[in-house]
Each structure stands twice: as C-alpha cells, then as structure tokens.
Symmetry: C2
Subunit: 332 residues, 2 copies
C-alpha cells in the first residue's frame, strides 16, 4: 500500500539513514548534498511517501499525543473543556485521545493504564476522586499529568482548578445582599470534593451573615439531570418550606432541571425566588435573566492545562504547578 523509507532507499540506491534524514527535514543538518535532498524529496513526492508515525514514535519515544480523561465527553461542560484543550494542543502539534471515565475511579485507573500503554506523552485528567490508585501510580513513576477542575490537596501534582468555596460563598452572599433570607441549597455528587467545597461556601456565607443553616432547605440529588428525581425532591422542598426566596445551585444542570420543574408546574419564580448557580448556559440565562453566576473559566483552564502538561513533558523534573484560576462572576 504505502511506501517506506527502506523502499525509497532501495529505489534510489541510498541508505535508509540518508533518506530518513532528508524526509524528516534534517537533510541540511546532517550534511546531505542539495542535489540528494532534491532527489529524495522529489521521489518521495512522486510515490506519495507518508511517514509512519507509529514507527517514528517507537523510535523517538514521542507520540505527540495527549490522553484526556474526563467523566463524559457527552457532557457539555467537559465537551467545552475538551474543545479548548484540543485547540491549544493543536497549536503545539499535539493530538488528543479522549476517554470517558464515567466518574468511575476504577475505570479511570484502567484508562490511565491503557493510555500509558499506548505511550501518550502525558495525561490531562478530571479525576473521579473515588480512588487514588491511578493517580498515585502516575506520581510514583513521575509520569507527566495535569489534574483539571478537581484535585487532591494532599498530593503534590500539577492542577488547574477554581476556588469552589469562594465561588459558592459569593453566590450565596449575593442572594443575601439581594434580600433573601430563606436560601435553599441544591446539590449532587456530594462525594466530590468540589461539591463539599461549594457546600462549605454556602454554609460560610450564611454564618458570616448571621443566617442559620436550615436542614429543610438542603436538597441532595442522586443524579445531576434526572428529571423525575428533581420533580419529587423539589416538590417536597416547596411543600415543606414556604417563602423560599432564594436558591443556590451547585451545578447549572440542577438549576436547569429545577427551572424545568417550575415552568412545567407553572410555579412563578421570576421576582419571587432569586437564583444563583455555579456555572451556567445560555438556556438558563434566558429562563432566568437575573441569575447570579459563578462561571468557571473553562477555556482558560484548558489552555493552562495543556501548557502546563507540555512544560512538564519537556522538563520531567519541573516543580509542580498548582493553579487556582479566577471565577467569573455575573450579576452578583
């Protein structure tokens, strides 16, 4: 099917070395004569030579491939993250192999293993946090990787995150400043540290403003976007507590789900319940024009993650970069 360097060498009565040098652009550097270079290049063009990256990578130890492990590529949030990572990676001639961990720590560890077996040059990971085995192995082997969106405070690793506590603190406080006194908190995936932190932000803001935590105002969903569960639990919430004047959502998926419920049940919320959400999307902002948002700088995260990773790949002994990016607040 395709031509190899060996075949070109034979056809031109040259050694593989010469041909390899020319075709990898090292002709001049390796003192191959102008005429030879022309000849080889022309012949390669003629027979439509294409370098086999597999072979090259095996030889050089560089694949120009980054492994990306995220909970789900179908999730808009992570898809956007993947997009910015891809764009930045491309600038540096890197390509992405994307795998979804489904938030499963065991699977995450397997994916890490598999991607390393495939010899990716480094990994960008949104860790599931349920288990550390995968990450610990990377650390032990000093394999280049960057955590993104979530991290392990007890581990010395590269990471790019935001301060979830502060983000949720500001969200909550903004509702308080807007006059809310009965502020519900709706969350999910509470096993994640990010969620714990956001919760802390909510609690701290209440405390600092002399509001006390009311357990009835705290709702925990099992899934981020299970409409039936939302219907049930929000139904209960609204039945149990009257005069809720604000809701803080730990994810915009939850906010969307709850708005869906309110609209369907024709429960008026505009000007009655102030809404604040960690991150957002266009639809949500249409449905709740005055929603307070703590927006995660997804794009910047992606760019920084790639840059950090590539630095680490270049210099394996680099000091770990720990970055906490600024949250973007809107309508607070």
């Amino acid at each position: 099917m395709s031509v190899s360097i060996k075949e070109i060498a034979q056809a031109l009565n040259l050694s593989k070395a010469t041909v390899s040098w020319v075709l990898s652009g090292q002709g001049k550097a390796k003192r191959v004569s102008e005429a030879r270079i022309k000849q080889v290049q022309q012949y390669a063009e003629e027979v439509n030579y294409r370098p086999n990256h597999l072979a090259r990578s095996l030889s050089t130890g560089i694949t120009n491939t980054i492994g990306l492990i995220i909970p789900s590529i179908g999730d808009t949030f992570f898809a956007q993250m993947a997009q910015s990572i891809e764009a930045e990676a491309e600038k540096h001639n890197y390509v992405l192999t994307i795998c979804s961990s489904r938030g499963d720590g065991k699977r995450e560890a397997e994916l890490i293993q598999m991607l390393r077996d495939k010899q990716v040059d480094g990994l960008i990971i949104v860790p599931s946090e349920k288990t550390l085995t995968g990450i610990n192995l990377l650390l032990k082997d000093n394999f280049p990787f960057v955590l993104i969106d979530r991290y392990f405070p007890q581990l010395k690793t590269n990471y790019i995150v935001v301060d979830d506590t502060i983000g949720c603190y500001h969200l909550t406080e903004s509702l308080i400043h807007k006059g809310c006194r009965k502020i519900a908190y709706i969350t999910t995936d509470t096993h994640l540290r990010v969620m714990e932190l956001r919760y802390n932000g909510y609690i701290n803001a209440l405390k600092d403003n002399n509001l006390c935590f009311n357990e009835d105002l705290y709702v925990e969903m099992e899934k981020n976007n299970h409409l039936k569960e939302i219907d049930e639990k929000i139904g209960n919430l609204l039945n149990n507590v009257s005069d809720i004047d604000g809701i803080v959502f730990s994810t915009h998926y939850l906010a969307m789900g709850v708005i869906h419920y309110l609209v369907q049940k024709k429960i008026p919320y505009q000007n009655q319940i102030q809404i604040a959400s960690f991150h957002s999307n266009t639809a949500l902002e249409i449905l709740v024009p005055d929603i307070a948002i703590a927006r995660i700088p997804i794009e910047e995260m992606g760019v920084r993650a790639v840059d950090t990773l590539l630095s680490n790949i270049k210099q394996p002994e680099m000091a770990k970069k720990e970055m906490t990016l600024d949250i973007i607040y809107e309508r607070l």
Copy 2:
C-alpha cells in the same frame, strides 16, 4: 523505566518469542508448557510488565484506534455523537482520537492525512462537504471509513444519515396542520447539503399544501449561534412581516437563539407562533413546551457508524453500507 519482553526473556533465560506468546495470551496455543506460562506471568507481574502498544501496533498493523473527525467537539450535538461512538467503540476494544475540523474542508483533509499517518484503523467523519479531496483519497486507497450525519450522494461510501428532506417536510406540514399559514424558515450553513435538503422539505411541504413560498419569510444566518446577528435579522423579519404564525428552524441552535431574542424583547410567542425545529435540547423544550421536533437519533447513528466501520476494517472488500435512519418525531 518500564520492562520490555527482551528484558524478561533475558532474566528468565528464555527467548523473546516464548515470552511474547505467553504475555499476549497465546501461551497455550503456541504450546508453551504450563509451568513456563506460570513462571513468565508471575515474573511479568513482579516487575510490573506493561506491553508497549506502539510496538505491538507497528508489528501487527492494528492500532485499535478510530479517528473521529467532527466539526467541533465543543458542539453539544457532536459531543453527544462522540459519546455514543466512544461507548460503542469501547465495547470492541477500540479507542478514539477525536479531531475538530471546524467545518473547514482543507483542515479536514489534513486531519485525515494525519490520522492515517498515525495509522488509525479507520475513520468516522462528519464531512465538511466543502471539498472532496480528503474523502476521495480514502476511497482511492480503499481505506475504511464511515461518513456520518452528512454524505455525498455521488460517492459510493459507507454512510449513516437521516432523511433531512422528509424530516423538514413533516415539521412544516405539522405546522400547517396546526393551522399555520405564514410559516417562516430560519436556517444557516446553507452550503451544506443537509441544509439544502431541509430547505427542500420546507418548500415541498408548502407546495403540497397549496401555500406559496414567501421570500420575506426566509431568513439565512451566517452563524448558528451568533446572538447579535439573530437579533438583527429576526428584528427585521418581524418588522417586515406581520402575523407570522409559525417558524421552522433548520437547527435547534437557531431556535434557541430566536427564543432568546423573543424572551428578551418580551415578545409573546406561546400560543401565537408555532415552533418546529430540526433536533432539540431540554432547554428548548422547556421554553417551548409544544415545539414540534424532528429528532436525529444521535446515539443509534454513533453505534451504527462504529459497527459499520469495524465490519469494513475486518473485511476491506465489504460492500459499502448506506444507511438512512428514522427520524424521531415529537409533538407533530
């Protein structure tokens, strides 16, 4: 860093072949003794042997990798497609290298080239349609690939699509049946055949129901989600034509954008303008509870694309599979 078969062989005083057979699970088949198998496996475990997939692939000619080329991984539609493709690929022990073409034909061709250089076993492509060079080369070389969502009627290739004309025909007709007479059509990316087909569906439905096409009711956006452009053009539309009683959207992004406009301008649309959209999302359905939808079976598409591709990889001379999947209609 990591141990190779060669090193294991030396350590155990065995040949590389024996070790390779055992570690690739061919021990029995190649008549290696039980004891040897145990010994090798145990030692491999001890030294934490990990096969180098690069080397294996170079040798076998199989990478267990599918190249996926889509316009943008950040786009929810294609992200969902990628998700189902990833899930199905995983079942067959395949991994995805995902690249965004940005709808640029030249770039698409480059990506195809690059992925082939990386020796992917096959490609799944949402073609940009702006140029055929990339696809034609694949065809010429009989390289396994599947087109998805869009295809070239003049080419004999594997493809998985839906019937866009019929989809839009039904959407339009459903509005007519609901009593609409002044039905606007809002579209974008008109260089794409899918868009042409959807437009045809709109036109045909009008004709078949004795409504004539009114140029003023046709709006073409340059971008799928540029709010400013939407504001402008929809503003014009509503100024120029009164009593619009229905709108057919060729994409749900446009529908979302226009709803955004209507809500912001506080223009009431519920019960006044019937909305129909090619594909949809949760938010849209909240904002327009009675929206008529021609839903693309993304997940099925993904699954079929992978299955078709893997068949083609196994049997290179397989007859091309041309599949037009059923659209899912809602509230028509």
